[in-house]
Homo-oligomer: 501 residues x 4
Amino acid sequence: GTTRQAENKIQKIQFNDQQEEFNKLPTKAGPRPLSHSVSQSSPDTFSSDAVGSVSSEDESPPQEKPQKTSKGLTDFCIKNIKQAPFGRKEIDIAQQGMPSLMILRKRAGGEKPLAGAKVVGCTHITAQTAVLIETLAALGAQCRWAACNIFSTQNAVAAALAEGGISVFAWKGESEDDFWWCIERCVAADSWEPNLILDDGGDLTQWIYKKHPSLFKKLKGIVEESVTGIHRLYQLSKAGKLCVPAMNVNDSVTKQKFDNLYCCKESILDGLKRTTDVMFGGKQVVVCGYGEVGKGCCAALKGLGAVIYVTEVDPICALQACMDGLRVITLSEGIKHADMVITCTGNKNVVTREHFDRMRSGCIVCNMGHSNTEIDLTSLRTSELKWHRVRPQVDHIIWPDGKRVVLLAEGRLLNLSCSTVPSFVLSVTAATQALALIELYNAPAGRYKQDVYLLPKKMDEYVASLHLPMFDAHVTELTEEQAQYLGISKHGPFKPNYYRY
Amino acid sequence: GTTRQAENKIQKIQFNDQQEEFNKLPTKAGPRPLSHSVSQSSPDTFSSDAVGSVSSEDESPPQEKPQKTSKGLTDFCIKNIKQAPFGRKEIDIAQQGMPSLMILRKRAGGEKPLAGAKVVGCTHITAQTAVLIETLAALGAQCRWAACNIFSTQNAVAAALAEGGISVFAWKGESEDDFWWCIERCVAADSWEPNLILDDGGDLTQWIYKKHPSLFKKLKGIVEESVTGIHRLYQLSKAGKLCVPAMNVNDSVTKQKFDNLYCCKESILDGLKRTTDVMFGGKQVVVCGYGEVGKGCCAALKGLGAVIYVTEVDPICALQACMDGLRVITLSEGIKHADMVITCTGNKNVVTREHFDRMRSGCIVCNMGHSNTEIDLTSLRTSELKWHRVRPQVDHIIWPDGKRVVLLAEGRLLNLSCSTVPSFVLSVTAATQALALIELYNAPAGRYKQDVYLLPKKMDEYVASLHLPMFDAHVTELTEEQAQYLGISKHGPFKPNYYRY
Amino acid sequence: GTTRQAENKIQKIQFNDQQEEFNKLPTKAGPRPLSHSVSQSSPDTFSSDAVGSVSSEDESPPQEKPQKTSKGLTDFCIKNIKQAPFGRKEIDIAQQGMPSLMILRKRAGGEKPLAGAKVVGCTHITAQTAVLIETLAALGAQCRWAACNIFSTQNAVAAALAEGGISVFAWKGESEDDFWWCIERCVAADSWEPNLILDDGGDLTQWIYKKHPSLFKKLKGIVEESVTGIHRLYQLSKAGKLCVPAMNVNDSVTKQKFDNLYCCKESILDGLKRTTDVMFGGKQVVVCGYGEVGKGCCAALKGLGAVIYVTEVDPICALQACMDGLRVITLSEGIKHADMVITCTGNKNVVTREHFDRMRSGCIVCNMGHSNTEIDLTSLRTSELKWHRVRPQVDHIIWPDGKRVVLLAEGRLLNLSCSTVPSFVLSVTAATQALALIELYNAPAGRYKQDVYLLPKKMDEYVASLHLPMFDAHVTELTEEQAQYLGISKHGPFKPNYYRY
Amino acid sequence: GTTRQAENKIQKIQFNDQQEEFNKLPTKAGPRPLSHSVSQSSPDTFSSDAVGSVSSEDESPPQEKPQKTSKGLTDFCIKNIKQAPFGRKEIDIAQQGMPSLMILRKRAGGEKPLAGAKVVGCTHITAQTAVLIETLAALGAQCRWAACNIFSTQNAVAAALAEGGISVFAWKGESEDDFWWCIERCVAADSWEPNLILDDGGDLTQWIYKKHPSLFKKLKGIVEESVTGIHRLYQLSKAGKLCVPAMNVNDSVTKQKFDNLYCCKESILDGLKRTTDVMFGGKQVVVCGYGEVGKGCCAALKGLGAVIYVTEVDPICALQACMDGLRVITLSEGIKHADMVITCTGNKNVVTREHFDRMRSGCIVCNMGHSNTEIDLTSLRTSELKWHRVRPQVDHIIWPDGKRVVLLAEGRLLNLSCSTVPSFVLSVTAATQALALIELYNAPAGRYKQDVYLLPKKMDEYVASLHLPMFDAHVTELTEEQAQYLGISKHGPFKPNYYRY
């Protein structure tokens, strides 16, 4: 209730006229997309980390509370430095799920590819991002960090980061003023001039662009992960105002495949089971959209014996669905017999009231796509229909004749609302971010101009290679003769840019 | 803590020297195997239904509290009749997940195949069993009912049953004395002589056998669902003391397939995700045992891209695994690279300390088999290993060198502990029970002697047919000519008894 | 033409009043069910082995042509002893595809479990059966052998067997008189009294039963592989005339699974591709029947992206199809959109003229079931429909409006007519036969009475174990403690008889 | 023998210094890539169409034999106009497998989008291309046609085309001189000036470019299908000599997916079964390369229960293999246990003598990649190894110790050598070609410059849409509101150019 209102309000302030883009945001829809962590489930710490709650033990604003690490450092602002040992434990566990960053540290050996780099960062602050931040530090960077979301900070992790020497300014439940105050503290400090930005959402970038224009011009580069942030960068670039090279890490091949195809394949069953305990065998499921997300959902559902129907707008994707053994129909044709409807289109009003009116009782409706507009909820907010919240994230919408439709997460992203993001996906993202920073920092002059770049294919391949040891996978090395035959380097990149993986 | 001790104690009393059989029980290991229901998750009723808790509002023993239904009935004993409306809502929802029983009611039409039947029952009392009980009543039976487990009763459901006219004696948190008192109240009542038993666990049967021997002899039949109860019946039969026909509904084809193959296929992923958020793609999983349970687990894991290895003792099952594309190895061979080990053997000490010592850090170990002995836990209870409970049902066992093995549900059944049983499975069981009662009650004299019987194949087929409408499935009817060609009746049974489905 | 007439004639003679049973024969429908062999495809021998042809080079009847092996043996009658080296090459290659028999020889070590056994055999004479016969000899048996089919003998193989010392009486293209003459020569010989029969079809058994009754009574046992032969044995047994123990090897678990589920899974795609070059992706296929054969077909088709519909009579199998993700419909519902119809029912007239009339043009119809009656061909032999043979085994049936239905193998078994049986399946059968002979020969008096027996489960398991090395599969050995816990022997049998694999 | 030498010779002449590119050619390696047709299998016409044979009945050169159609036309040169009725029957049947072109004709309605177009074509002349040519004619084009391969012409089809009014110059078994003579006759004719080229291989284009430069400059466009031809066009373009717009139809999305992923998925099992009758269940298969071809092969093999290992050079593809549940190893690691090795890399010497020496006996080796260099055959042509041809396309290579390795198609493309291309793939190609011609002919001035273009995405989508009716697939139409939301047209194109399908 209040939490959500606050969330809405601050977003309105931050993004003002960008409402529409915000709706498409995959990663920032709220505090839930984060990976499960020890502290979230551990009973003793649950209350202090619960969504939106503020620990009752300590109500004084962090800004007013002087704290010190065991080594006497004070250049940070967090909830409670005493939580550091617990946060360290979480970071330790998170490291096990993100071996790629540990390999990166090891492969660097004694070298410090980020020696001299001064990174100002603004991301979620969780055990996983802590592993990233400490990796940057291990590679030689100096870091100052703020949170990109007012609710998502894990306080114990922030404490452990501070205790470890990172200047972090973040706590769970910041006000909007706190939010900008923290960012400013990261940017402006004595004897500190950042030369790299790592951003997730574009708020930090925008702040520096607007408030510290001279500093902005001196940056060596920006690394941005979110769709919104990238949208903003492209707008800046178009307007001729982007005077720094920026790296779009969102659209790297590896990240895209993991964020969409594999991540959705892993989470669709989980999201449905946790909310509805539905049995999949023999269920008739309509999957709207057969892009990467739809392909992932269909693959998982097929594995458990669902009967799948696909709706598609694009005949090429439709033909792929056919060849993959799925019937392609219109939603109107399939709605009558559907046990579940899953939207994965990125479009709006894909499921309308007309469809709802023709569903059978018990039909489950949910959204795995890129926006909460896919299901036309407005049409369901009418007086003759009753909404009954039966569990968190599960509403029964009841027709006058007793028919019930089961709506999940009020049409928001099911996998972010009712499931977890595998730490492997976070690992891919974090490794991509680290490599993008290294590339921008070390690139010879002239390689990157004042534009938005995709991660070089070789870096993309390197991110992939960092994750292969988790699977005991061994790639084959080209012989000189073979490399020559193919006309490529032995060490990659192995494919032309237009290659479709 | 106390709850589990109480549980252990009463079981000791009930089953005294049958400890070992109890360990093999698939369905009664505690209050958790029950399907998710509205009341369990609905915030307003959670506390009153939470495991082992006793509502604080009303501490007086139900026996001492006179209650009355709206129609003035008093022949029942439950927690609180005022909860009836809420329980009714749950039963209404449960009906939607168990259409087979609703079809059974409808197909009976005006006929009352159980007219004159007096059924005394002892089962879990949940929304799902309520649908069964009310189906029996709708088919003409008079029913009196007790709970087979002191913790599993959903009080609101019991209230709704009572309000509906069923004489139910059960509440959550009975003492052992309460337990037997309730059973006795079901058996002995004025102008009531039961002629059919529906039992789950054998306690009711044993009580009548011992305390009401003359009544026992007059019964038309017993329907028993649990492995333990059936074991007891076979022992009675061997000893020549079973003077009533009994129906073993546990081993019907339909129920077996759903309890093992399909149920495990549905729940293995869910159990692992809810507890560990593990990503399945590319994970190396050793599945110990390739019976129905192992086959179900492998099918589900393959669908999500796991790399599966199977261990088997039986060369026939091993050969099946080979032909299904799975590598058959010994656990010793595979343990070093395993990301997960899942036991499905029904055997003991399948995973030993020696195996644990060779696992890689992060390896997940769990049990889907028929007993909690598959994993040798005793060997892990040594001083050099540290156990760390990171979430409910999840322990990290930590080696001196920091290696962690993730143990789920302390080696108990993962799908019962950390997942839910799909209501479809409960529906199959309930329909099988109802049909078994109808068969025993209506069978011509002499069809059943004083022995334990399997459900007749035709009934088994009928249970299956009751579930086909949920899938919009249409079976084909044989022509007379075809039936003659095959030498069977048009209406089944369609297969010889030895047929392997 | 003439060939088929001859085939029909001799069958009429052999089986006279058993026409109907013959129709159900899975393995003896003609000369095609055999596995591909070198000689069949090698250009130089093709003509001499082509179906029904008789080599022009040598027209004198084998009976009249005295032949001698290199060691001077003459007790055999075959086409041409000079072909022996080529036949030996084929046997060598066949041995590589049947390692189970080679393992059996090796495991026997110096022991001769069949020492003293005198086996008279009547089977197809091919490179694969040659490996079996020579295995029996290696295990100590004396063997005399005839062919069970007048067309299927591979002459070069027969020559190699003779050269190796086996008394074989068989050639390709026997007349009916030849057929019985060969059998008689195997049974009756100087200083030879067979004590074991290995039969495939029952002709040899019937011959001995009728013509040599005193010899019949002295047999230690009969091993029979074919459905027809087993049907005859059960009839004999029912009539009280079976005075010898007989082993039904057809119904062993291992053989059944391989003959049905796995064999059909392997061959359905192959049979369809070789005849029609059809693309499977997205094709709508109706599979009639979801027993083992239908399950195998569906599994293979699903793997290549077909959209599968199942028709079923039995609600239990129908429910399995549902849970496996297949829509269960009636043929009438699905026929309009079907691209292929595959019958796997064992029933008659499953596809009728009414269905044919409603098919779309181009629909492919074929049979994988147990008889050629599944498709009602008679209804298609009418004047308004034109049959056009477009390739061997492929007919286009053309409707007056130009619609074409593609009928394969004239409704006979597709996998036997248009595909090959994997040598692995033949290996399973051969190993089962060898073990059955060993068991019957070595069983202590009284273990087998005058009845028809299934292969003991332990033997069944042993057959399976012989095939595991081909898959590098390693079974796990039970510890003493585990065996005791399960109440079974460490060495099996591991499952009760009623176990469903 | 002689045939292949002739083939090699003419290719040497045609492509002289382009040897290497030729090796990569997927579609033109010989006369076998063609789809199965009635005439190829029909017994009565087999000899006249058999590969490389020349009908003995009529040895006079077609050039010297005056022929006339039933309507008196003489402007063509083929083998025998009397074969026209039979060729027509084949074209009729081919039309059923290529509904997309028929739909294209129908959708055009009365309109003639190619009215005025004068197309000179040079492709294989088969029933399928005949459907294409007649479609172009039906859409208004005048056509003259030559064969792109001296062996692949189906004479009866050429006759039917001529009888139907197309000026075709082609016969099976042309000499090199004939080949160029036919091309010249297509280009130069009275009152004929071609304005469009449809080429497959680039020979026609090169001929016009060199011999008719003034005509070349006046062309409206070139449509080229083959990899070689496109390579030549890009070279011409680079050299600044391409003065006409050219359309690369080889790299359209739809065609690529069908030529690689789906086509290989369909044909790998078929190619292996037809040559070796191998059983797939449980076989250990090493697939070298996990691009589209490798992905297709793996998907098919997994469906039949093979155990698959993948080798990869590119870590991104390796990671995909991992996530898809396949073990990624080096060939050296896996070779010892492999039952099959399948190359799909496009690279050279992927399987070397060192690997061959470590294979187990019976291992099958074949190539599905883009060149015959993947397997190092040279290393096997040594005196100590014996080659034994056991069937067409199957060699046993025998080691001194008796080990046999089974090599298929001498390392050439398995699916072209030992399987068939589904007509659906040919249909996609043909529709793409037709649309490219329409686009080039009707494009407003300036849309295409003197360059090589990919098919516009909208056309690509249109090709896909033409094939959906075969699957009864119904795409969903965007509402105006939705199209606006997505910022695209209701009628496509639906995806940005960089989209990965």
